[in-house]
Each structure stands twice: as structure tokens, then as C-alpha cells.
């Protein structure tokens, strides 16, 4: 009998930890998530069901430590050349159980990438924040606060707008940054995160890359307030809300790198966001494959199992083909991030654009296939008894976030066709 593991991966360059990390996370998912996930939608505010599963994965199993250097209690993945492929496997396994959990978990590392990853490790900040994540068995979340009320896509449109639309300001007063602004939607806001990475400008309206600033703000700093989480179509395990920053003061060295480099390395954050998004897509599709396998073997049409009908088999083949291609391409993207010596800097416009291309291709195809799966399963597809509709609802936002499809299209066209005015 075929299983999800029959979908190919490039075995010649998987991370050395792949097998073990995969096994541990799959076991966790089977025991702590899959049996409960159907009730997560009702748990979107309280996280009473969701929280224990996070505690197990992040705190007790220690996955929240993976990026930090080993001498600071971490697992040292930020220093390895398999961060991409290793992370892809972990995120894929978590998303197979629940993509909302995968997002909330994955985003812990999003701001930390700025300081924990070679060749731009900020040792002082690693030392500052490592105890928060590595010194506890309780789950600790971080958030990457980019999006603002006037729009998230423009802030991510770094090549063209260069941070000129950011309205959250950072002003240096003595040896402190004073931050004022309003952020919306960051994953792990809504009262969850203990640490924010905040995208700011030191000179509103400026297109000078030196004015883009990425500054860490502990959530309990005076002047930080948060709204309760928003209600949304899916992804109950990810809380999102408003963050208001009013005269928030943090030490000057909480800025990730400094003029020019903050913007440069922030593009790497976007690259990892693209890769993570594809991993979420893969995880979801792998589980939809499992559900469909079971449903189409045990449901009968024209007197035989659904999957034995040629027209149904055609649809199943489309779904399997898309998954096969997306998974291989996703791992390839991860590999490109692991080996900048072969493929170019992770923060280069080329890698950002290629990541965008793969991300939006994967999202579009996956949502198309999930739509077909829901339809094929009829009432069972759309009712919350088979989990396919949950995956369909959850996955939609992966297509919409990080600037949405149109921004992806523009960045891809700009790079591949040398467009100059988009």
C-alpha cells in the first residue's frame, strides 16, 4: 500500500537530521494534534486544546531552540548548511497535522533569522534572547511585525518601494530607540508572542535603504499594547491581532544590524517565508492525499471503489501529480537557501523572485487541487467530518499573505523579464 512517503524528495541532499526530525514530529502530530484538530476552530480564542500540543513540540521536545547556537542552548541549525531542507521537513510534518500550527511555530524563527543565521549572526542579540527560548520547557513565541493598516504588500515590495510606505517610526534618543506605530496581523500577535521583530523606518517616506530598521521589542515593554485575536476563515492555531507601539523604548543595540544591512537581510526573511509557505502547502497536500486515499477506497460509485472509476482516477492523478511536483520544487527551493555558494545570496533579488515564483505556483496549484478534492468528496468534503475542508480553509491564507499573488507576479516578471517600471 502506498503512503505519503512515496512522494519523492531529493534524497541526495536532505539534511542529516531529516529522518529523526521527521519521525519525532510525525509521532507528535499523530498523538497530540490529529486526534483533536477538528475542534480547533472553536478553540480560536482560548487555545485550550492547541496550547498543550505547542508545549510538547516547542518546549518539551525543544524545537523552539533549533536556530540558536549550541553553546547558548540551541541546536545550531542557523550555523549549518541544512537549515532550509531541515526546516522544510519539520514544517511539512507540522502542516500535515495543522497548517495553522505550522505557521505559528514557523514564525517563531522568522524574526530570529535576522540574528541567528550565518553569515550575519548577531552574537550579542543571540545571547540576549537565547535564554527566553532555550532556558524553558514552556512554549515561547516570537512574531514578525511588518504589516500595517495601510497595507502589507507595499512594505514587502522592497525592491521598488524600499520601505517608503512604512509608518512605524524609530527615533534614536541617546542609546535607546523610541518606536511609535501600529501593526496588524502578525502571526503570534493577539497576546501570544513574547518577542516582536518590528519593521520600522527611521525617516518616514524615505526610499534610502539605510532608513529601514528591524528592531526587536519584547512584548512586555512599556508602551506595547495588543488587541485580542481576530476571527478569521481558518488557521485557528495562529492568533493575529493589532499591536500598538507608543513611545516604546528599547536599547539601541536591539536593532538587528544597522543601516543598509537590516533591509538587505530582511529580504532573506522573505526568502525563508516563501520556502516555509511551500512547506505548509506540501504538508497539507500530503494529508489530503491520505484522506482521499482512504475515502476513495471505501466509498463506492458505479459499484466499485471510487478510485477505480476512470474519471475519478483522472482527478486523483491530477492531485498526486501536483503534489509530486510541488514537493520536489519545494525541497529544491530549500536547497537553494542552504547553498548560497551554488545558487546566490538568500537576500538577492534573484532568490527572492525565484522563491516568490515557486510559492505562488505551489499555492495556486494546491488550492485548485484542494477545491477538486472537496468537490469530489461531496458532502463529506465540505462538512467538518473529513478534515479536507479545514485544510482548504487554512491553506487559502498562505496564498494571500506575504503581499499576495499580484506582488509575487510583479517580482517574478521584474526579475525574469528585466522590467524596470513595475
Amino acid at each position: 500500500m502506498r503512503t505519503l512517503d512515496d512522494f519523492s524528495r531529493p534524497v541526495e541532499y536532505l539534511s542529516p537530521l531529516d529522518k529523526y526530525l521527521g519521525m519525532i514530529v510525525r509521532d507528535w502530530a499523530e498523538k497530540h494534534v490529529i486526534p483533536y484538530r477538528r475542534s480547533f476552530d472553536e478553540d480560536w480564542q482560548e487555545h485550550e486544546l492547541i496550547e498543550p500540543a505547542f508545549k510538547r513540540l516547542m518546549g518539551e521536545l525543544g524545537f523552539q531552540r533549533i536556530l540558536f547556537p549550541e553553546d547558548l542552548g540551541g541546536w545550531g541549525l542557523g550555523h549549518s548548511d541544512y537549515l532550509g531542507t531541515g526546516a522544510f521537513r519539520i514544517l511539512e510534518e507540522v502542516a500535515r497535522a495543522d497548517s495553522g500550527m505550522a505557521v505559528a511555530f514557523g514564525v517563531i524563527f522568522w524574526p530570529l533569522l535576522m540574528i541567528c543565521v550565518e553569515p550575519h549572526v548577531n552574537r550579542r542579540l543571540c545571547e540576549e534572547f537565547a535564554p527566553m527560548f532555550c532556558g524553558t520547557s514552556e512554549p515561547v513565541f516570537a512574531a514578525n511585525a511588518m504589516t500595517e493598516p495601510q497595507g502589507g504588500a507595499d512594505i514587502e515590495n522592497l525592491e521598488v518601494l524600499k520601505g517608503s510606505t512604512i509608518q512605524t517610526t524609530a527615533r534614536l534618543e541617546g542609546d535607546e530607540w523610541v518606536i511609535n506605530g501600529h501593526k496588524l496581523w502578525p502571526t503570534n500577535s493577539g497576546g501570544v508572542a513574547r518577542l516582536f521583530g518590528v519593521v520600522c523606518t527611521t525617516n518616514p517616506g524615505s526610499t534610502d535603504p539605510n532608513d529601514f530598521a528591524f528592531i526587536f521589542v519584547p512584548a512586555d515593554t512599556p508602551g506595547v499594547t495588543q488587541s485580542p485575536p481576530y476571527q478569521k476563515a481558518g488557521m485557528a492555531a495562529d492568533k493575529n491581532g493589532d499591536i500598538w507601539l507608543e513611545n516604546v523604548r528599547v536599547p539601541s543595540w536591539y536593532r538587528a544590524h544597522g543601516p543598509g544591512d537590516d533591509l538587505k537581510y530582511f529580504k532573506e526573511v522573505i526568502s525563508f517565508g516563501n520556502m516555509g509557505s511551500v512547506a505548509f502547502v506540501c504538508g497539507v497536500m500530503l494529508n489530503v492525499y491520505e484522506i482521499l486515499y482512504d475515502y476513495c477506497s471505501n466509498t463506492y460509485f458505479r459499484g466499485k471503489p471510487l478510485k477505480e472509476n476512470d474519471d475519478v482516477a483522472g482527478v486523483l492523478a491530477d492531485i498526486a501529480s501536483s503534489l509530486q511536483v510541488i514537493r520536489l520544487t519545494g525541497y529544491q527551493l530549500a536547497r537553494m537557501l542552504d547553498r548560497p555558494d551554488l545558487y546566490g545570496d538568500r537576500w538577492s533579488n534573484e532568490i527572492v523572485a525565484k522563491g516568490r515564483a515557486i510559492k505562488y505556483f505551489a499555492c495556486d496549484r494546491a488550492l485548485e487541487e484542494l477545491g477538486k478534492a472537496v468537490k469530489l468528496m461531496g458532502a463529506c468534503g465540505s462538512d467538518r467530518v473529513c478534515d479536507v475542508e479545514k485544510h482548504w480553509r487554512d491553506l487559502k491564507i498562505v496564498q494571500l499573505w506575504m503581499g499576495g499573488k499580484q506582488l509575487c507576479q510583479m517580482e517574478v516578471a521584474r526579475w525574469f523579464f528585466d522590467c524596470e517600471t513595475l
Binding site: T165, Y230, S382
Partner: protein
């Protein structure tokens, strides 16, 4: 009538009373649903049930065929039905889905007058009460191992069987999944198979002994429809509850069900169009002063969306018109059924694609409950998966057009 200027339909297809009805429903929508939605969200007891009562009983959509002493013009009914479902869905797709089931029931009553079948008085009387009638269609579905597929149902299986025994008729079926509202139905309108696998249309009142609705399933969309699996444990019904036998009748009911369901999907998309249009007028992208809709990439997708909605609306009203023509004997039944099922599939495809695209334009706002778009998005997908087993529709279309015989 909403959006007639933007997405026109031939004016001669609509009567004055249709136009008046559209305005009544618009007022109902504003007062009973839209104004209360922000605070009551999708609450069944506080929002949806009272809104249903007001629409079905006070506006009178459950009384269309009982209030006029049998004088109602059957041929006017299909267009009125699609218009009612479309306009209702602009406020709430779930209520519209329930209305679609109810209108099929009322249509059956109209038919019964012509063909001499007698609908039991007690069923007619419930339509006159000041309590909303929730009618729940039970249609064939995929089967389980060992269940007999029906050729006339293109390989699907009856969910319910009816056995004739000496003294009466007994209805059985376990874990039956209705189209809507299994938990709350007042009547189940069931397409069952008899001892010989022939289709029989029957009405099973909720109070009949042996009808056991389960707990409501957790819902993805269509919050007004609290669906549940239902067991029919040897439910005994009188002969008068068997309202029709044979294929012809069924295709008429199916036609109306498809057309009104497609109208519900269309209404939901039109509601999304309003939300999306407002977004396009006010949102700014690519820095200051660039209004969203004025961006060429954005506008090109908006154009595609609008073109699709325009054709969907024409198809929906075209279905209503075609059913009316069919009743006047102006059309072969097989052609009409083919067109209606094909058009329904097309309208659902348009509806799902358009709302997907609109959500893509609205990004996180599209995904947030506060903006309402995501509700219609969930509703349309849920409705589609219930109404259309895509596999079957394709086979029907192929047999009608290409003469495929054995599938």
C-alpha cells in the same frame, strides 16, 4: 432589482411582481440580516432563525402556492424562484439554500395539482403557519460497499429505500445525509428507491415515528443549515405521502433545484462583488495615491471577474426561463435538463473562482470575518459540494450530447 444595470438580464423575462419581490427581499435583507450581522455574526437562534421566519412567513415565501387557491401560474414560478434565491443569498447564502429546498417543495405542490396527485392537507397547512417550514431534500449519493448502484442515477445509490408491505409503506435508511438542515427539518423530501429500484418521491414529516435526526454537524459554511445525518427506522407513511413515481417528475424537480441553487451561489457572488468594489474604490497600493482599482494588473482581474458574473447571471435567469418554456411545452425535456445541469456546473465554477479571486485581492481583509467576504466564500464551496457531484454531471452531459450510453 439589485445590479440590473451592471449585470443585466432580459427585462421581458421579469414580471412586475418579480421586481416588487426583489425590492421586498432587499428590504428584508437590510433590516433582518445586514444590520444585525456585525453583532450577531452567524448565530442561528438570534439572527438566522428569526430572519428565516420573517422571510418565509411574513414576506410569505413559503406561501407562494398556497395563498392563491391554486390559481398560481406555474410557468411564472421558475423565474420568481431564481430571483428569490439570488436576492436572499445576497444577504445570507444559507437561508437561500434552505429557501431553494423549500421552493422545490412548493413546486411539487403546484405539480401535484396538475397531475391529480394529492398532497396531504396537513402538509399544506404547515406552509400556512407562522413558523418557518424547513424542507430538507434527500438525494442519491455515492454508496458503501455492497450497496447497489443505480444505472438511472449514473451509478449513484439511493440513500433511502421504500418497501411496500401488506398494510403500508416503510421507509428505511441509516446515516442519511440531506442537502440541508437534517437537524431542523420540518419535512424531508426524499428521493427513494422502491423494491425494483424505481425512483419514488415521498414526503416524510419530521414527527413521523422512526425519524431520528442526529446532532448538527460542525459546519464549514451555510450556518442557517444545521445539517445532520438522519436515520429513518422503518418509518411508516401513508400512500398519500408518496407524491410521485418515475423519471419525468424527478427531472423537473431536479431542474428547479439546480437553478435555485445556482441562483443562491450567484447571489453570494453578487454580495462579494459589493464588498470587493468598495475595497477597490478605497484601498491604496504601491505607495500613496494609487487607488487599487486603477492598477492595470488589478483591473484586469476585476474585468475577468465582472465578465464571469455577467455570464453567470444570464445563465441563472436563462435556466429559470428554460424551465418556464419547458412547462409550456416549447422545449424537449432532455435538452432542458442538459442545459440546466451544464449551466449549474458552470455557474458554480464561476462563483467559486470569482470569490477566490476577490479574496486574493483583499488579502487579509478577505480572510477576516469582519469583512464578511470569507463567509460567502465558505458558503459557496459548501453549497457546490452538496449540489453537484461533478462526476455524475459530466456523464449526463456526455450522454445527452455525445450519446454515451453505458456510464
Amino acid at each position: 432589482m439589485r445590479h440590473l444595470d451592471v449585470f443585466p438580464v432580459p427585462r421581458e423575462w421579469l414580471s412586475e411582481s418579480d421586481i416588487a419581490l426583489s425590492e421586498t427581499i432587499e428590504n428584508w435583507a437590510e433590516k433582518e440580516v445586514i444590520q444585525k450581522r456585525l453583532s450577531l455574526r452567524e448565530s442561528y437562534d438570534s439572527l438566522l432563525l428569526p430572519a428565516m421566519k420573517s422571510l418565509f412567513c411574513d414576506v410569505g415565501l413559503q406561501k407562494i402556492v398556497v395563498s392563491e387557491d391554486g390559481e398560481y401560474d406555474k410557468a411564472a414560478y421558475p423565474i420568481t424562484a431564481v430571483l428569490a434565491c439570488e436576492h436572499t443569498a445576497m444577504a445570507d447564502t444559507g437561508i437561500s439554500a434552505l429557501l431553494s429546498n423549500l421552493l422545490v417543495f412548493e413546486y411539487l405542490i403546484l405539480w401535484s395539482r396538475d397531475c391529480g396527485c394529492k398532497i396531504p392537507d396537513e402538509l399544506l397547512k404547515i406552509l400556512e403557519k407562522e413558523k418557518p417550514v424547513i424542507c430538507s431534500l434527500v438525494l442519491p449519493m455515492y454508496g458503501r460497499k455492497g450497496q447497489k448502484p443505480q444505472k438511472r442515477l449514473n451509478g449513484l445509490c439511493y440513500q433511502v429505500e421504500i418497501q411496500t408491505e401488506n398494510s403500508g409503506f416503510f421507509v428505511t435508511g441509516s446515516g442519511v445525509r440531506p442537502q440541508v438542515s437534517g437537524h431542523d427539518a420540518s419535512v424531508y423530501l426524499v428521493l427513494a428507491g422502491d423494491n425494483n429500484g424505481e425512483p419514488v418521491l415521498l414526503v416524510v414529516p419530521r414527527e413521523a415515528r422512526g425519524v431520528l435526526p442526529g446532532e448538527p454537524l460542525k459546519s464549514t459554511g451555510l450556518a442557517a443549515s444545521r445539517n445532520a445525518d438522519v436515520d429513518f427506522n422503518d418509518v411508516e407513511i401513508g400512500e398519500e405521502y408518496i407524491v410521485a413515481r418515475g423519471d419525468e417528475y424527478l427531472s423537473h424537480l431536479q431542474n428547479l433545484y439546480y437553478a435555485t441553487s445556482a441562483a443562491a451561489a450567484l447571489g453570494a457572488v453578487l454580495a462579494c462583488f459589493d464588498i470587493h468594489r468598495e475595497w477597490g474604490n478605497t484601498r491604496v497600493i504601491k505607495g500613496k495615491r494609487n487607488i487599487f482599482k486603477e492598477n492595470p494588473l488589478v483591473a484586469s482581474l476585476m474585468g475577468t471577474i465582472a465578465s464571469r458574473i455577467a455570464s453567470a447571471r444570464f445563465l441563472v435567469y436563462g435556466m429559470g426561463k428554460m424551465i418556464a418554456d419547458l412547462l409550456h411545452g416549447k422545449l424537449p425535456a432532455a435538452s432542458a435538463s442538459f442545459f440546466i445541469s451544464a449551466a449549474t456546473a458552470h455557474v458554480f465554477e464561476i462563483a467559486t473562482t470569482c470569490v477566490d479571486n476577490m479574496m486574493e485581492h483583499m488579502a487579509s481583509a478577505g480572510y477576516a470575518t469582519e469583512w464578511n467576504l470569507e463567509r460567502y466564500w465558505r458558503d459557496i464551496k459548501t453549497l457546490e459540494s452538496y449540489v453537484l457531484p461533478g462526476t455524475v454531471l459530466n456523464m449526463r452531459a456526455a450522454s445527452h450530447s455525445y450519446g454515451v450510453k453505458n456510464l
